[in-house]
């Protein structure tokens, strides 16, 4: 928070303090309007980019004509920083819950499906990414095969990430967009068709193809619209949760046991490296996008609120609108908590990218790791005049997927059954809570997988092997502890 608010106040707080009452009103009105649905970012993006650059250009003359002495601005800056710090932590609990609910919902859907639909626990072969079988004679062979499988999967992911970075670097945007749209089409139509079919088989529901075609068509088309274009916020969130659950179910079905645990472990390490290391592919991607001052490729992000201002396209330098534009700016700028600590004062490019990034919610299968790692959990900074409910927090869909894979695998294969599932669930929630706490402290993009997956894995193996026999014995004798 401190590094960003140090940069922003130079041109924002000066204006904000002056326009405080107007700003507050316009913000609440617009924020209420914007909270209802996504605005069409693609249309407004060019105009907003222009507006923002215009804002910045008018900045300095504006602050000069305000006539405020420099020390006054400093005072305001400090006061804002303190209040921002307080407000950040006060909002922290609310944002944690805003992420708890969708993560819980996704896990509930996955566990409910695993427990009822036997298709997803049946062994029907493996993915081509994990060619080595685990039905071997010796334990050593099985271990070796699973290590090889995990290695292949991780290298596939690394190669795809690097390919994506290369494509982005050489500006092959059409390829990337096409790839993402095909992936989301596949998820929304094909995988949900299979899911629906299996649910019908489980409950022995007689269904004709015409009805199914109608249902899947509607589901898929509304999904594409909601995710890629505009739609009610809740519907969009519901679709994102559903496609994460579908993806997680695919992984649970096709990954053999030991391979799955190994992949989970290795991917959290990879997540850590890719997001935090200076030469990590995802960090490079983000920095390239920032240099070019343009939008990052459409990524999978679950956002808890939409805080877009509606129709801020006019060119005339109205102070009130500029203030509210600046407040949008402020809202998104922290979303782009860049890893560059030395970002310039007027470098807002990253925030605009995040604006444009947020409209495009597509579901790539192969690029899940990139999208997951591209934006992990980001907070939004607060602002005095901002309505608290308008700040949202974002989590990559890849995180949803891997959390659900862990809990789903725990419920599918554990001998402790519900105890293990619940223990993993609590562990993941606590990991998420801790990650958000670290986020509030460090205020930069952080990987959301490592802590949660580590806790989840530790609790899975410990509960399955240690707690389950103990509780089983106690329940057998009806002893309570």
């Amino acid at each position: 928070m401190t590094e960003l608010s140090a940069h922003l106040p130079q041109f924002q707080h000066g204006q904000l303090t002056e326009n405080f009452p107007d700003n507050h009103l316009s913000n609440t009105q617009e924020s209420m309007a914007s909270a209802l649905f996504n605005t069409d970012q693609n249309d407004n993006s060019e105009r907003r980019r222009h507006d923002n650059s215009e804002c910045r250009r008018n900045d300095n003359p504006e602050s000069e004509t305000n006539g405020q002495p420099q020390n006054n601005i400093q005072q305001v800056v400090e006061q804002d920083e303190e209040e921002d710090e307080e407000l950040t932590l006060k909002y922290g609990a609310k944002h944690v819950i805003m992420l708890f609910v969708p993560v819980t919902l996704c896990m509930v859907v996955v566990v409910a499906t695993i427990k009822s639909v036997s298709f997803y626990t049946r062994k029907d072969g493996q993915l081509i990414y994990t060619p080595f079988t685990e039905e071997t004679e010796t334990v050593g062979q099985r271990a070796l095969n699973s290590i090889l499988n995990a290695a292949i999967m991780i290298s596939v992911i690394i190669v795809m990430t690097i390919l994506l970075v290369v494509l982005y670097k050489y500006r092959c945007y059409k390829v990337i967009h096409g790839w993402l749209i095909i992936s989301s089409l596949l998820l929304l139509f094909f995988f949900s068709f299979i899911y629906l079919g299996e649910v019908f088989k489980t409950y022995n529901v007689a269904m004709d193809y015409i009805t199914v075609a109608l249902m899947i068509w509607n589901f898929g088309v509304v999904g594409m619209i909601c995710i890629h274009w505009k739609g009610p916020l809740r519907l969009q969130q519901a679709y994102l949760i559903m496609i994460s659950a579908l993806m997680a179910l695919v992984f649970i079905k096709y990954l053999p046991e030991w391979t799955a645990w190994l992949i989970l472990a290795v991917i959290s390490v990879y997540d850590l490296i890719a997001v935090l290391c200076p030469k990590g592919p995802l960090r490079m991607l983000v920095e390239t996008a920032q240099e070019r001052n343009e939008t990052l490729f459409p990524a999978l992000i679950y956002s808890s609120t939409m805080i877009w201002l509606v129709n801020m396209a006019e060119e005339d330098p109205d102070a009130q609108r500029k203030a509210s534009k600046n407040s949008t700016y402020d809202k998104q700028a922290p979303a782009s908590q860049t890893q560059n600590e030395d970002a310039e004062a007027d470098d807002g490019g990253f925030s605009r990218e995040w604006q444009q990034q947020r409209d495009n919610r597509i579901g790539p299968i192969e690029s899940t790791p990139e999208s997951r790692a591209a934006v992990q959990a980001l907070p939004s900074n607060s602002q005095m005049s901002e309505d608290p409910e308008e700040r949202g927090v974002k989590l990559g869909l890849g995180d949803f997927i891997f959390y659900s894979v862990l809990v789903g695998k725990a419920s599918a294969t554990a001998s402790g059954d519900w105890n293990t599932t619940l223990a993993c669930f609590v562990a993941i929630l606590i990991g998420l809570c801790l990650t958000l706490l670290l986020l509030a402290i460090f205020k930069k993009a952080l990987p959301a997988l490592p802590i949660s997956i580590t806790f989840g894995l530790v609790f899975y193996f410990a509960t399955d092997n240690l707690v389950q026999p103990f509780m089983d014995q106690l329940a057998f004798h009806q002893f309570y502890i």
Binding site: V76, E86, L422, L429, C433, L466, P469, A475, Y480, I481
Partner: protein, 265 residues
Amino acid sequence: MGAAIFFGCAGIAFGPALALVVLTVAAEPLRVIVLVAGAFFWLVSLLLASLIWFISVHLSDREDAKLQHGLLIFGAAVSVLLQEAFRFAYFKLLKKADEGLATISEDGRSPISLRQMAYVSGLSFGIISGVFSVINVLSDSMGPGIVGIHGDSPYYFITSAFLTMALVLLHTFWGVVFFDACEKRRYWCLGLVVASHLLASGLTFLNPWYEASLVPIFIMTLCTGLWAFFTAGGSFRNIIKCLSCKQEDDSRVLMYSALQVPLED
């Protein structure tokens, strides 16, 4: 058997807990976080206790039934002590968090009081403890089977449900008393809480002699409930005032915090 037993027993076991969560915890984000973190602490204590039991079982003779029984009782006792130790650790953590929240808030007071945190932490321990004890039993009750076919008690499910309910409520009350005792440094209260937990757990060893286990546990629940009520500041007057629904005139001056001093230009 089947759905009726499942829903009935689930309702008995978790009805009070669910009501308490929905009415008092679900609306406040901070309390939900305290709830989940409390569950985490209980799980860690259970993990350690299971580890100790597991090691002791593997180091001993597996064939000796009496020894295994004794080790189970030992494991249960260790688990109770560890639960209380982790309750103390959670108290320390919440106290620190309370101070932190107070320093960063606008008016110097934390948005959640230590008493509320005591209640929520007790509830969280109770819920997770109850869930872990009874969830597998409940899921088995949905399927086919005959209870007590080998000579055990046929009332297994219903007594389990009642015991779980008692345990959930007991943990909630213990949480309130425990935190208050730690706050006021009344160590005899602490000892009493630990002793009553050991007693409750010990009474369950008398199962299936339910007259000796269920009835005393419920009496203990009632007594601990009253103790927690008086510790939290309740009194007969409060109850009467609450029941009579009288509106008290608030003669205090209301402070408007939305007023802001206009910034000097």
